[in-house]
Amino acid sequence: MHKILVVDDEPGIIKIFETFLIKNGFEVIKAPGGKEAIKILNSDTKIDLMVLDMKMPKAPGIDVINEMVRINKKIPAIILTGSVDAEKYFIDLKALGYSHEDILYKPADLFELLKLIKKKLGIA
């Protein structure tokens, strides 16, 4: 079973993703912010993919990405944004190996998200 880390500061959004992803046969780990996500990334070695919100009040998504690069543990990520944050960091993201395809704008269609997750994980 694939393990997915969901990072978002909005509990309502986390709950939707959790319900949806479990229904579709994934194991879900939740992180209510960037700091918690970094902690989980440092301790749990078996995360297959991450759904990451860009704009969060304490540690934004770009911090999590940078931490992954720092500890040299790059896992596939789908970057979720409600605004122009992803654009703002796009040059950084591109340098770290992400493309426009990895970005989804809120409100995202859950099935679109599912399609993207399956593509990233290489399951039909």
Partner: protein
């Protein structure tokens, strides 16, 4: 600096240095030897006193020892306390013996005889008979041999005493019978120690006992015996040194130190081992070193007098040397003033004397030379006078030439300028000296060879004055009209030497002539112009009105763009806050839809919720694009191809509504750095707008061209144009003329093009269609 000063100062400094070094050295040597001699005196004194004291102590021991051989005392001891009837007699005998001996020896305070148990059997002082001395040092020390008890304070006699004791032995068996002791007054010891002979005003000798207290009286302090503690350097060193006992244990001599009163003294010491006494001899440093202060005064006087003497001697010597030099100096001054008869020579045999005589010889030869110079001077004066006359005549001639109103120049046969007057120089705006020696044709007409019309050529050939009218050319390129008159001149042999040219400036006259003819022509032209001017005025007014309207439009646009920018940032902030709730609504709707819902209406409603959420998302995304602060990813693009790619998306659709697309592309367009994805959004918006402006079909003409530093793209339609109101609100978000428009299309286009530093404008004439124009900077523009 004068030589005199130099000499006296060097003299002075040598003497100062020498005395400055010598005097302190002498002083130190003197001080050292004085200190040594004082110390030796003290040491001799203290050693001799110590010897004396030891002898005295020995003597005390001997005298007590002698008494211990007394039969009377022996008898008493043998029968004492044994109830013998002879005891009273023996006691009286012994008593007498002791009293008598005491009287013979005034220094003795008391003799006493103790029995074996330490009880006083008999004493010269009756009150002590019978007392128990078994614990007294006198008894204990005296049992084994001759013993001297250190100075102690006697409670009985109320004074400090010494005590000497010795064992009393049986004259036959040598068996110990008792102890014989004498208490001794200190008078004799004090006399020995405190004898002041040869000790000066402050010298003192005293004994310090083994406990560190004074055993003999002090010279400057009352009541010190056994009361004054002395712990000075002298005492410490004496104990360390132990005098003759260890003669080699270090230096005995010590330096100046403070004594028990705290006064600085010089001192020596000696140690008496038997008593562990220290004998000290000390003298106040002040007295000891008194001779030194006298010596110091003498040295100071020497230090003061010697340099003065050296200074005076220096001045005297300097005078001796510089005197003749000064006389020589005075002599040279006299000769300098012209008194060649002055003699400075002296008979002195030294170098200065030789110099002065050589000087006199020189003066003599100078005197002879001066005479011949005088004749020469006279000749020079005469020549000067004739030259002056010549110069005056030249000046007159020069003044004449310079002040004539004609330009005058003198030129030789090689056409080189010999001279030029100020008037001519003024004509050419140059100083007259600049012309001398130069070619006349170069200077006056800027030619490379002799002027073809040169009047000089003819004048020199014919020998007659020749005239010509020509133009002078200045260095700055301006020219003026002149009349030239060349007059040849000849040398004394009649051969032609050159020519003089008289130059008259006729520019003003020429101008006046031209003016007259021009004025006539003008008169005719003016009439023609007056008639056409009326037409022009009308045209200018029309143009001005047009410009005014353009200006008004530009101002409106400016206000508009300011408004849009602030609206944009507001929208950006708001959009973020709206997206999260939208996500929750949309997500929940989707989750619900995944459940098995039987009611179709509920299912449909959920679908509507989901779809509307995404419509809201689209609007927000467009708003965000409109307010986007900068370009995204840029690359160099062929704009024609980029437009063509956009057109191909809509072409099929346009055919259905009868819209034709005409292309008028610039060939070989320059590549431009843009965000192609964004720019294509602009193109599709503009093409769609154009199409929608022509509901009945028509043509869109896309033209690309270069305009200054910009790449220009025009989208022209054949629709009905737009109203004035639409023109004003064109870029305002949510303003639309379409039934289903969001009113964001052009606002987004505007945002994108601004981010590229470009321009977007519209031209519309009613019923003639609209032209949308995009201008993009060729340099890519700095975002």
């Amino acid at each position: 600096m004068k030589i005199a000063n130099k000499i006296s100062i060097s003299f002075l400094s040598v003497v100062l240095i020498l005395t400055g070094i010598a005097v302190p050295i002498f002083y130190l040597i003197a001080k050292d030897s004085l200190q040594k001699s004082i110390y030796n005196n003290l040491d001799t004194a203290v050693v001799s006193r110590a010897n004396h004291i030891e002898t005295y102590l020995k003597m005390l021991e001997i005298s007590v020892g002698q008494l211990s051989k007394s039969t009377a005392l022996e008898n008493l001891l043998k029968i004492n306390g044994k109830g013998d009837p002879r005891q009273a007699d023996a006691f009286a005998q012994a008593m007498m013996r002791l009293k008598r001996t005491k009287e013979a020896n005034p220094a003795i305070a008391e003799f006493m005889l103790m029995d074996k148990a330490g009880k006083v059997a008999v004493s010269s002082n009756e009150s002590s008979i019978g007392s128990d001395k078994s614990a007294d040092l006198i008894f204990l020390g005296g049992q084994k041999g001759s013993f001297i008890k250190d100075v102690y304070f006697s409670e009985v006699y109320k004074e400090p005493l010494l005590a000497v004791s010795t064992p009393f032995l049986d004259s036959q068996t040598d068996e110990l019978l008792g102890v014989l002791a004498a208490r001794v007054r200190l008078n004799d010891l004090n006399n020995i120690v405190t004898e002041k002979t040869g000790m000066g005003d402050t010298g003192k000798i005293y004994i310090v006992n083994k406990y560190g207290y004074m055993a003999t009286p002090a010279r400057f302090k009352e009541d010190v015996v056994l009361k004054q503690m002395v712990d000075t350097e002298n005492v410490r060193k004496a104990r360390l040194h132990k005098g003759r006992e260890h003669p080699l244990s270090g230096e005995k001599k010590i330096n100046v130190f403070p004594d028990y009163r705290g006064v600085l003294v010089l001192g020596a010491h000696e140690y008496i081992p038997q008593m562990q006494w220290v004998v000290l001899a000390e003298i106040d440093a002040k007295e000891a070193f008194a001779p030194l202060s006298k010596l110091r005064l003498i040295f100071l006087i020497v230090l003061f007098i010697v340099p003065i003497a050296a200074w005076l001697l220096g001045i005297f010597l300097a005078k001796l040397i510089t005197g003749p030099l000064q006389r020589l100096h005075k002599g040279t001054e006299m000769i300098g003033f012209g008194n060649l008869d002055y003699k400075v020579g002296t008979n002195a045999k030294d170098e200065v004397g030789q110099l002065s005589r050589a000087f006199d010889t020189m003066t003599e030869s100078l005197k002879q030379t001066t005479v011949s110079i005088n004749t020469l001077n006279k000749e020079i004066a005469e020549r000067k006078a004739s030259e002056e006359a010549l110069r005056e005549s030249q000046e007159r001639y020069r003044a004449l030439v310079d002040n004539t109103i004609l330009g005058v120049t003198v030129i030789d046969t090689d056409y080189k300028i010999i001279t030029t007057n100020t008037m001519l120089a003024k004509l050419f705006n140059k100083p007259a000296s600049d012309f001398v020696g130069k070619d006349c044709f170069r200077e006056y007409e800027k030619r490379e060879a002799v002027c073809p019309h040169c009047p000089g050529v003819q004048a020199m050939a014919s020998g007659k004055t020749t005239e010509v009218e020509t133009q002078g050319l200045r260095d700055d390129g301006s020219h003026f009209s002149v009349r030239n008159r060349a007059i040849p001149f000849f040398g004394p042999d009649g051969v032609v030497k050159g020519f003089i040219e008289l130059v008259e400036d006729i520019t003003e006259r020429k101008k006046a002539e031209e003016k007259l003819s021009k004025a006539l022509e003008k008169e005719i032209k003016t009439r023609e112009i007056m008639t056409s001017m009326l037409d022009d005025t009308n045209r200018v007014r029309e143009e001005l009105e047009g410009k005014l309207q353009e200006l008004k439009r530009a101002q409106d646009m400016l206000v508009q763009s300011e408004k849009l920018a602030s609206l944009g940032s507001l929208v950006s902030a708001m959009a973020h806050e709206v997206n999260n709730p939208l996500m929750i609504i949309s997500g929940n709707a989707q989750l619900c839809l995944m459940e098995d819902i039987q009611n179709d209406e509920v299912k449909n409603n959920l679908k509507i919720i989901f779809e509307e959420c995404h419509r809201a998302k689209d609007i927000i995304q467009r708003l965000l694009k409109f307010s986007r602060p900068s370009k995204g990813e840029t690359k160099e693009v062929d704009i024609n191809k980029s437009i063509e790619a956009t057109v191909s998306i809509v072409a099929h659709q346009f055919k259905l509504v009868n819209v034709e697309i005409k292309r008028n592309y610039l060939k070989n367009p320059p590549l431009i750095s843009i965000d192609e994805q964004q720019m294509q959004e602009v193109f599709i918006n503009l093409i769609n707008n154009a199409s929608e402006a022509m509901p009945g079909g028509g043509a869109i003409t896309i033209t690309t061209s270069l305009e200054g530093d910009f790449f220009r793209i025009d989208f022209k339609d054949t629709g009905c144009g737009m109203s004035e109101e639409a023109k004003k609100k064109l870029f305002e978000p949510f303003f639309t003329t379409k039934e289903k428009g969001t009113g964001l299309g052009l606002a987004v286009c505007y945002g994108i093009i601004k981010a590229h530093n470009g321009e977007l404008k519209f031209e519309s004439k009613l019923n003639k269609g609209i032209t949308a124009t995009v201008l993009l900077p060729l340099g890519g523009g700095k975002a």
